[in-house]
Every structure is written in C-alpha cells, then in structure tokens.
Subunit: 215 residues, 2 copies
DNA sequence: GTCTATAACCTGATAGAC
DNA sequence: GTCTATCAGGTTATAGAC
C-alpha cells in the first residue's frame, strides 16, 4: 500500500514491489493449483516459479488455504460478472445461448488453468472453496435460457438442468482433459490460439445442433 | 497363490485371505485415488478404509506408484475391451454411435470413481500412467464412426476429433463434476440409479441431435 | 519486503516379531 | 499374512536478521 514510484513492473524479480509480488504469487499459485490441487500443491513450487522464497507467501497470505481461496475467487468471480453483464435474458433464446457459449469459451480459453483448477476443486474438495452461489449463477442463467427456448418452441424437448451440464461439459472438457488427448493431434499444440478457436467453433456448432428443434 | 480353502469372502475384515485383501486394497485405492490423485492420496487412508494396516499395501504392491498403476489399468482395460467387442464398425454409423454412447455411459455410471480418477491422472500427471494406446483406441473408434457417418451423409459436416472429444465430455462431465453441481438437484443424489439413467438418456439425445444431419 | 534458518509435523517405506 | 514400531525425507509455517 506504499505509494510505489515504480508505476508498473510485471516482469519476474520485480524487486521490492508489494503489489507486483503479490500478483506474481497469485499467478504462480493458479498454475500450481491447476495441476496439483490444494493438497498436492507445494508452496515451494509456487515460490520458485514466482522468484521469491516461500516466506513471502505467508507474508501476503495467511496460509496455503487462504491463498487457494483467493486464487479461486479471482478465477470465478470476474468471468461470471462479465457474463452477467451481457444481459442475455433480454435476447431471444437461441441467440442468448450462442453468445453465452462463445463468451464462456473465450473466458476459459484465455486461462485454461481455470478449467482444470475448478475440476480439481470439485473432485478433491467437493467444491468447499467455491464462492457461494457462483455455480448456481452460471447454471441458473443457462437453465433459464433453455427453459425459455423450449417454451418458445425453438429448442427441442429437453431437461434443462442436464442439458446445461452437458453444455458446460462440452465447453470445458477439451481444456481440462487436453493432456489426456493430445495424441489425437500429434504435433499440434492443443492450447494454441488457432486450435482453441477451432474448439470454440466446433463446440458451438455441437451445442446449437444438440439443442435446436428440428424443423 | 496358496490353494485357499475359503472359496470367496469379499466382506470387510476377511481375515487371512490374500486375494480378498488384495482386492479390498485395490477397491479402497481406487476410491482414494479418485478423490485425491496419486500425490495427494494417503496410503494411511487406503489402509484404514480397507481395514488392514499400511504394511499390507507394501506387502502386495511394490509402492504407492505401482498400486496406482494397477488401479488405472484395471479401470481402463476392462471397459475398453468390452467396447471393442461390440464390433461397432459393422453397424451403420448412427446406430453405432448410439450404442457406443449407451455402453460407455453405462460403464462409467457403474463406477463413477473411474471418470474422476482419469481426469485427475490427465491433469496431474499428464496421462503418464495410462496404458499406452488406450486413449487412442477409445477416440479412434469414435472418430471412425463419425467420419463414416459424414461420408454416408447421415451426420452433419463436423470435425471428427473435436466432436469425439465433445461426445466423451458429454458422457463424463456429469460424473466427474457432480460434486460441483449437486446444488442444482437439491436433495436428490446425483449418482442414484434413477438419476444416472436420466443423465444417460439426456446425454444420448444431446449427442445424437448434435451430430445428425438436419433434413 | 525479503531472506536464512529452524521448529513441528506428516507421510512413504521398511525391519522384525508373531 | 498381518501387526507394531521406527526411520528418513519432505512440507507447512514461523522467528528473527537485514
């Protein structure tokens, strides 16, 4: 909170700059938590990747658990707020669905770590650290769009909650499981910009086709 | 390997019965690995759930890693062999796809742990412990069905590999993320037989609609 | 703000008795 | 086959110097 004279210094080994160091720790922690999860994550690894010593983690955060909580909050709250601002409820269902999917895919593609991290959190800690109501907000928007679409006769007769889950799964599985299936695209990097765009297009087409009423 | 006089004794605290104890350890390990992953899994927890002491794990398996490998093999090889026996390549694409999905969903629903475990393995260890070619076998079958369906004009114009990933994701996401989304079905158990059947039906409808050509 | 110890604890793995 | 120690190594978290 000191009036820092160094305006912006995002690079590694930023020297003595509280905000920069804290941000670096959060980024490194996100990376580590995304492949290890809370328990298996090593504070040593986070520190090494940040370029400072373990001590700094405890200087800026109460403990590993608190750091984890802050990383999760940061990862979830921002994207969700942005989606809420799209005001999808004011658009016709099929358009709202496409926009939702496109935006959600874009958010997740920007930081593929997040998808993995949220999976790990669900599996390992039963979602204990999720900010309350975030998940409900996400699925609430989707189920509403789907229910509206059915009522208006543009979507086929489907169960909104199950379908919402299937839609989110379609958006996220590619990212979370990419280490699982990289052999399918021998050579190509699955998280490259081009491949992520390809995934987004295919996912959107799959979702739209899966939901729209045949006529 | 001693000629055991006790034919079958699957219950807990089976006493001195090598095969029973070993099987119990494998089951408990699957459970533990499915929520913790290799690194975060505790041999103590596996032993406790089995009803014997940690020592037994090292009596029957070289180390934690070897136990993990055996659990993964057991989980993957069996289901895949069974799917291969369906001889889907001899059926028309849309029928083959539905049968694949139905069978795969059934397999995964029987042991929801497996879905979580494979996810964790992909995220945490980059699939290092997968039996070589298992994944390729699974996705190979799916992409072939999809390519055939496009060639025959029954499936829409889609990218087979991406769509294969989306299909698997649709089957598996519900299971792997169920702790994430249980609030959506307040009260109901998401892994109950009825709910799993509901999921299977919705997933199959979603997949078929997402793939079939509108006409 | 950042570092170098170091305390206190946990966990994988083994030795040896029964 | 199964158990009771027990060791060696690793990990979180803190104390105290700079």
């Amino acid at each position: 909170m000191t009036t820092s004279h160094k305006a912006k210094q995002t690079r590694l080994s930023a020297g003595r700059d509280a905000e920069a160091t804290k941000a670096q720790i959060l980024d490194a922690a996100e990376q580590e938590f995304a492949i290890a999860g809370l328990t298996a994550a090593r504070t040593e690894a986070i520190a090494a990747q940040t370029g400072v010593t373990k001590t700094m983690i405890y200087y800026y955060f109460k403990d590993k658990e608190a750091l984890y909580q802050e990383v999760i909050n940061r990862a979830l709250i921002n994207p969700l707020n942005q989606i809420a601002q799209l005001q999808l409820e004011k658009q016709p269902p099929s358009q709202a669905l496409e926009q939702f999917a496109r935006f959600f895919l874009q958010q997740m593609s920007q930081r593929p770590n997040i998808a993995s991290m949220l999976f790990l959190e669900a599996i390992q800690n039963q979602g204990k650290y999720y900010p309350k109501a975030s998940i409900e907000q996400l699925y609430g928007m989707l189920t509403k769009i789907l229910a509206d679409g059915i009522a208006q006769g543009v979507f086929r007769s489907l169960e909104p909650r199950h379908t919402a889950v299937n839609i989110v799964g379609t958006c996220v599985f590619y990212l979370a499981a990419h280490e699982n299936i990289k052999h399918l695209w021998k050579g190509k990097r699955m998280l490259s910009k081009a491949m992520l765009e390809e995934h987004a297009e295919e996912a959107i087409n799959f979702i739209k086709a899966g939901v729209l009423l045949n006529q």
